[in-house]
Symmetry: C2
Subunit: 157 residues, 2 copies
Amino acid sequence: MRWQDVDAANCSVQATLDVVGHKWSLLIMRELFNGVRRFDDMRAHLGISEAVLSRRLRELTAEGVVETRPYRDAGSRTRNEYVPTQAGWDLFPIVVGLLEWGDRHRAGAAGRSWIVTHRDCGHEVSVAVTCPAHPGESLDQHQTATRPGPGARLRPR
Amino acid sequence: MRWQDVDAANCSVQATLDVVGHKWSLLIMRELFNGVRRFDDMRAHLGISEAVLSRRLRELTAEGVVETRPYRDAGSRTRNEYVPTQAGWDLFPIVVGLLEWGDRHRAGAAGRSWIVTHRDCGHEVSVAVTCPAHPGESLDQHQTATRPGPGARLRPR
């Protein structure tokens, strides 16, 4: 079965984009990964409307990638802040991958605005396609192959 | 300088999403990565309109992640097929990352529809945040730190 003959409705790339493919969703995850957790802080930093941020946070929460935690500043009512769930943190390599691509291909002469490092040694991290049997190798497309999985269905004609 | 104080307009995650953040763009890259290169084949497999596919391919070509190559079937006029440029192939880890996330969190009982393996050994690949000084380690968020890069600008207030 070739990829072209597989029903793409069933594809996990599509399934992930259904969760985080809306405009702003991955930028909201970027904010959360950088410790920006409060609604007003995210709104100000992203420069989006309250309505859009609110809708996106509701969707991300419903999808199980974000959860709310109550907090209370002195003299204010209790509010929620937002943190990634484990499923949300599992998006971290995707966001670092987007960062790395933009650094490489779009940062230009001004240079990159934000750098992610290995905490222990300070080296910059990167995102790689890896094989469990070949630790330390970063694979490019020519070193990979594809095959249908158990959920592959033939595409309706 | 905290992330919150950095001007996010300058962020490489945003810059990458400006290229591939539109609906369908990363799914078109998925098709190209899987060897689906012809307009009609992509249109049929993605199930989108000619107008939308055409517009997205024009954008991806203008952004330098896709290029055209002429081909000619016997008895037909010359047409273009579409292939990733090197900058396009550099998006491969992001698309594999989306696949892996969906496999883990959304594939469900039916199982995954498509599997990417290491060509040499047949093991399934995965996407990892890696450090050049610690080959073979896959880092999670707790093992990373962030700092402003040379292009960091203070956010206007």
